[in-house]
Amino acid sequence: MNEDVNGHRHLLAIADVDRDFIISLLDSARSFAEVSTRPIKKVPALRGRTIANLFLEPSTRTRISFELAAKRLSADVISFSRTTSSISKGESLKDTAKTLVAMGVDAVVIRHSSAGAPKMLTGWVDCSVVNAGDGMHEHPTQALLDLFTMRERLGHLEGLKVAIVGDIDHSRVARSNIQALNKVGAEVLLVAPRSLLPERIEEMGVDITGSLEQALEWCDVLYLLRIQLERVEESRFPSLREYTLQYGLTKPRWQNLKRKPLVMHPGPMNRGVEIESSVADEVESVITGQVTAGVAVRMAVLYELLGGSHG
């Protein structure tokens, strides 16, 4: 978490935070998870604060999750998207953000197709900024909710063996997760064809394999990434069928496993591509659990930024 010269705190990237921050955030997320199980799912912690959700790229779960998180903390929320805002009239991000802050917003949650947009924003606005996914750069709250899910389900993070499967190259989720897992002492194995791996990825402290079978034998957590269908046209791989054959969690692969790993997916799933539909049904509870965890983790992040333990 960075703090700027005006004392505003931001969450821009997992690269900026350390292990202690991650662990203490996951601890407090546990308390926030409890709030969502109450008959009245709301606490007054951020009463009187205003949070703007600036989602300039399509998103369902992240946007709703941030909105719910803010509402459960009693903050006021303004949400807007590209099509319904002046951005569709050609207003720049800078002007949009400045307008928001002029109306007295305390934090901006931003999703943008360009890497680094949230960081740019911190130089323009006088409020906190949360990165909700920027281009192919990072998606820090996704990594935090994934770690939360692993920790709650498996009891620990240190020494955990996590295999991440799929289009690592285009995935901000993978980039954030790799760094977060490294920081808390988990081991990461990437499973993908070379064409879906970024250059020099080994330097991030991960192992690489082309064999899903090998990964399945080894891992405690199997993290499947969404195959972005438009990538087939970029000829990153021959066909979806080919991908599924080699890297898909198919029924035979799943059934043959003696020790079944925790299967996770950031959503939305492409049933029949990275995971066979019947297997998806079987492991669905974990994946919906990730969604539930998302609200708790984002409550913890917003509270940390705006309620803050700085002082």
């Binding site: 308390s31 709030v35 008959p39 606490v43 912690a45 803050g308």
Partner: protein, 180 residues
């Protein structure tokens, strides 16, 4: 800043006598332990609530529900003071129509108890909410008073009351002194 003790106002024996007396008082006022629920405020209030619960169980021969409450998210000074780390609230009990006794170590400004009442109301509608504290040191800033008090300890504003409990501090005692 370090705490410098000037006097010990309660020791181990005093504490166990107080727990026993308050347990009896609660039972007398509530006419038994039916519908009773004890809710301790984190951190030390939780241990006191558990001790009271154990004592009531010994007297009545049946268990009484004990919960833990973290009021950080209900504080009225988050903006100015900043929040500390947040503990988990464990109220696995149905508070509807229950006689809830809030338990805390020190009653001072009353703001913590105000926050605790807000929190409890979010869990249901108790028949009655009462307050038990180990030490009442005065200086209220809101109209709140305790129903059960271990000891009234008059203090000045710059004095501190330090409660130590066996469960986390290794020893039972209450001291009064200054921060230096």
């Amino acid at each position: 800043m370090a705490f410098e003790a000037r006097a010990r106002v309660l020791d181990t024996e005093d504490l166990s006598r107080i727990i026993r007396r308050i347990a009896h008082e609660i039972l007398e006022r509530s006419k038994g332990s039916d519908d009773l629920a004890l809710v301790g405020i984190r951190t030390r209030g939780v241990f006191l609530a558990r001790r009271l619960g154990k004592m009531i169980e010994e007297i009545e021969g049946k268990p009484v529900a004990v919960g833990a409450l973290d009021i950080s998210l209900y504080r009225d000074d988050v903006a100015t003071r900043g929040a500390s780390s947040i503990g988990v609230t464990e109220i696995d009990l149905d508070t509807n129509d229950k006689k809830v006794v809030v338990v805390d170590d020190v009653l001072y400004t009353g703001r913590t108890i105000r926050a605790a009442m807000d929190a409890i109301m979010d869990f249901g509608r108790p028949q009655v909410i009462q307050l038990a504290v180990l030490v009442d040191r005065g200086h209220r800033e809101v109209p709140i008073r305790a129903d059960y008090v271990g000891k009234n300890v008059p203090t000045s504003g710059n004095e501190k009351v330090k409660v130590s409990l066996e469960e986390i501090d290794g020893v039972d005692m209450v001291e009064i002194g200054e921060e230096r």
